[in-house]
């Protein structure tokens, strides 16, 4: 299994300003990789390096098995720029047709189908499009040639919730067909439901790469149980992973760190009438990466 993106020691300085420092990262075929970080972290810098829009100061990167300078490979990449600029009197449909031709041909029907899904109007001159509608054109051009790798820089910016949902569906379809997606965002909530893995950059450095499912499993969650009769507190004492236990009559509250298995087995000895389990708040975990400098090194996990 060869990596779709393989960056080694990738570094970019804009003059003396740091854009990205020593990025080592591998993105695997068929995964959706969420690329997270606050403003100015280096997400756009990374993405532009992958697409050879800018050149690295140090290090190198291979995309789809080719060097980033090889133009031909870009026919297999779909790219949505973070600051998408669409201008002029040209109609969106003509622009899309042009992009499709240069990338080796895209059936008009596929463009129309995408436009319909995203509810985009292709007959409007591009300079008259609103921000969200420009973003839709950007998404259509990124998806339309069914690329092996989609690189999307803040794809949901300006989209209304309905279109965001449709977009996420499209991303899942891409994964289902075995293709790969790299998408950047500021917030985990935007990508956690589709991403297989997420990477966090801060101040130009990759500080963590995590598997979303594993993260969810590890996450703390609050649980509430109600029984048909009062239960003895001792029955739940010292269960692995159970914390902040409070038993009051027929009610039990606690937080679970990791798997809820032990708690469920202990509760099974009584009659459970009601169970509430909150979704783990991954955002909270990730916020610690934003703020907690000390964890930089022990969390680094270059894939």
């Amino acid at each position: 299994m060869t990596a779709v993106v393989r960056a080694e020691g990738l570094t970019k300085y804009y003059g003396r300003r740091r854009g990205l420092e020593d990025l080592t990262l591998e993105i695997r075929p068929g995964e959706i990789f969420g690329y997270l970080g606050p403003n100015g972290a280096g997400k756009t810098t990374t993405i532009r390096l992958l697409l050879d829009v800018i050149r690295p100061t140090r290090g190198h990167v291979r995309v789809l098995g080719a060097g980033s300078r090889e133009a031909a490979v870009r026919a297999r990449i779909g790219y949505l720029p973070g600051e998408l600029a669409l201008e002029g009197r040209e109609r969106a449909a003509d622009y899309l047709a042009f992009l499709g031709r240069v990338r080796g041909g895209v059936p008009a029907a596929r463009i129309e189908a995408l436009a319909e899904r995203l509810d985009a109007d292709l007959s409007v001159p591009m300079r008259k499009l609103s921000k969200g509608n420009k973003q839709k054109i950007g998404l259509i051009q990124a998806f339309m040639h069914e690329p092996d790798l989609l690189i999307l820089d803040e794809p949901t910016g300006g989209l209304d919730p309905l279109v965001q949902q449709e977009f996420l569906t499209m991303v899942r379809e891409v994964r289902a067909s075995g293709r790969t997606v790299l998408m950047s965002s500021h917030v985990l909530a935007e990508v956690e439901h589709v991403s297989d893995r997420v990477g966090i950059v801060r101040a130009g450095r990759l500080v963590a790469v995590e598997n979303v499912a594993a993260l969810r499993e590890k996450a703390m969650r609050r649980v509430e149980l109600h029984f048909d009769a009062p239960v003895p507190a001792e029955a739940f004492a010292d269960l692995p992973g159970v914390r902040e236990l409070r038993v009051e009559g027929a009610g039990l509250r606690c937080t679970i760190d990791g798997r809820p298995d032990a708690l469920v087995k202990a509760a099974a000895r009584f009659t459970v009438v009601h169970l509430v389990s909150e979704e783990p708040d991954l955002e909270e975990i990730f916020l610690t990466y934003y703020s907690d400098e000390g964890r930089d090194d022990d969390r680094q996990e270059p894939a």
């Binding site: 804009y14 532009r48 697409l51 050879d52 829009v53 800018i54 050149r55 133009a71 031909a72 490979v73 870009r74 026919a75 990449i77 790219y79 720029p81 600051e83 998408l84 600029a85 669409l86 201008e87 002029g88 009197r89 040209e90 042009f98 992009l99 240069v102 990338r103 080796g104 051009q141």
Partner: protein
């Protein structure tokens, strides 16, 4: 890519064609008045103009003959300058303008080699300017015939080719500067300053020894000294211009290929 670029340039190309044609029409249509008034516009009358102004207008030898009139008012200063400005503005649309607007980012991520992309944008610019040149040449010819200017088509072609090359040269200067810097205003400024100084050097400056040698780097030298309208196509001079353009384009290709886009 070339067709798409031409489509981007189309509107301004059309307006420039109309503008230059209108300029030609205006000046050529008053030729009968001038040739009919040798007292006002004949050689003696023109001798009264201040020397520097005469130099700037290329000598103002004789306005009452068809050739002299055409050379003085059309091919000496105004039309080359119009072409130069037109060429620089369109050349700026090849790289620098879309780069500043941000639209170039998506284009450079297409599966087209950077060098090739630049050559295609240049080709579109050169073809667009050629269309302007051909159409305005035909308009000039038709007008010249209608006012009985008495200048053959071959001479018009010779002069117009020179105008086209001068325009292409300054457009290439702007394009190369834009390809290297990605910035619009400095690229335009470089071409503009070069054009103005280059023109001054070959006219007023030709008598000033200290700067006269600068004529070698002025495209107007290669355009004007052969006096294409009087003597026909100066092949050698025009080849120098063409060579200079080739060097500029090569510079543009190399600079563009090495650079970060949109930073």
């Amino acid at each position: 890519m070339i067709a798409k670029s031409l489509r981007e340039f189309r509107r301004s190309l059309i307006w420039w064609t109309i503008g230059i044609s209108a300029f030609m029409a205006m000046y050529l249509s008053i030729y009968p008045n001038i040739s009919g008034n040798p007292d006002l516009y004949g050689a003696q009358a023109l001798a009264k103009f201040p020397g520097a102004l005469r130099d700037l207008m290329g000598g103002l030898q004789d306005m009452t003959s068809g050739l002299g009139y055409l050379q003085s008012v059309v091919y000496q200063l105004f039309v080359p300058m119009l072409f130069t400005v037109c060429a620089m503005l369109i050349a700026n649309r090849a790289i620098a303008q879309p780069e500043e607007a941000g639209t170039l980012e998506l284009v450079v991520t297409l599966p087209v080699d950077r060098r090739r992309l630049l050559l295609q944008r240049f080709a579109a610019f050169a073809l667009g300017l050629l269309a302007v040149a051909v159409i305005t040449l035909l308009v000039t010819w038709a007008l010249a015939e209608s006012v009985a200017l008495g200048v053959g088509l071959d001479r018009l072609v010779a002069a117009h080719t020179g105008v086209y090359l001068v325009g292409l040269f300054f457009g290439s200067v702007t394009l190369a500067a834009g390809a290297a810097s990605g910035r619009r205003a400095p690229s335009l400024a470089l071409g503009g300053v070069w054009a103005v100084l280059g023109y001054v050097v070959v006219t007023v400056g030709q008598n000033v020894e200290a700067i006269a040698w600068l004529k070698w780097i002025s495209p107007f030298h290669y355009y004007a000294t052969g006096r294409p309208l009087y003597q026909g196509l100066p092949a050698g001079d025009y080849l120098v211009l063409a060579g200079a353009i080739a060097v500029l384009v090569l510079t543009a290709v190399l600079a563009f290929d090495r650079r970060d886009i949109g930073v």
